[in-house]
Subunit: 135 residues, 2 copies
Amino acid sequence: MTAPALTKNQSLVFDVLSRSDAPLSAYTILDKLREHGFRAPLQVYRALDKLLERGMVHRLESLNAFVACAHQEKECCVGHGHGTVAFAICESCGHVVEFHDHAVDHRLDDWARQRKFKPAKTTIEIRGLCDACAA
Amino acid sequence: MTAPALTKNQSLVFDVLSRSDAPLSAYTILDKLREHGFRAPLQVYRALDKLLERGMVHRLESLNAFVACAHQEKECCVGHGHGTVAFAICESCGHVVEFHDHAVDHRLDDWARQRKFKPAKTTIEIRGLCDACAA
DNA sequence: TCAGTTGCGTTATGCTATAACGTGTGTCAT
DNA sequence: ATGACACACGTTATAGCATAACGCAACTGA
């Protein structure tokens, strides 16, 4: 029932993302893992694919970058029980806040249902300035 | 008061996007405009930048592609009076529906206000299957 | 034992976007 | 008019993001 353990590459990539306080591009991850034997982008992308499947990592479409899921409580990442994830991205300090909003989810679901559109994945990203950077 | 006329390159790019029934990448636009003298990606990107500024074109972050704004009534594109734009993107036929939802806008605004986050640009993209393709 | 699946490593390639340079043209205050 | 400025344009080169296609190794389950 429980998901199989992470492979070595998957763990390495996930650790790098978890330790980072800002999103990382695949190539940045690659550079951070060269000393662990990574040589090629595909090693990173393949690990990311699996981590994305599990919901342990999110992709920020507007940045072409990746973050570890903020819900580090195990239940969340294993049984990705929440709906759509939204992100607030500070364009100054790079910090990202992940959040969920049921009202927004519900509203978009309604829209889709009315149009008979079948959602597969929804992206919500707010770019702007965080409190600290708005000065 | 009224915005200056489009330049030749801007018009060419906008026309290509307007005529397309699916999003186009910058390089696809470039290919379609080679016979009009376009030679380099920058010619396309520079035109797109201006069109994006005016709200006449939208960028789909999850596709790295561009669409003409669906509100072709002039008032909309000149005085971009609406709030955040959302998109439903069919992954089968490529068709994109643009829509606005005040409730969603308002909800995200509330979230930002509470966090003292200053939104600059918000991306909402639903990828899935349209009614026709869900079969 | 053999077929199927999954992960891995490597090389090569393709797609997306911008940097940095110089040119021409218009505006407008002097 | 002239010089300063802004802006669009064209070109070459380069940076940054992502995947195709090959082959090998390990595991799993008939």
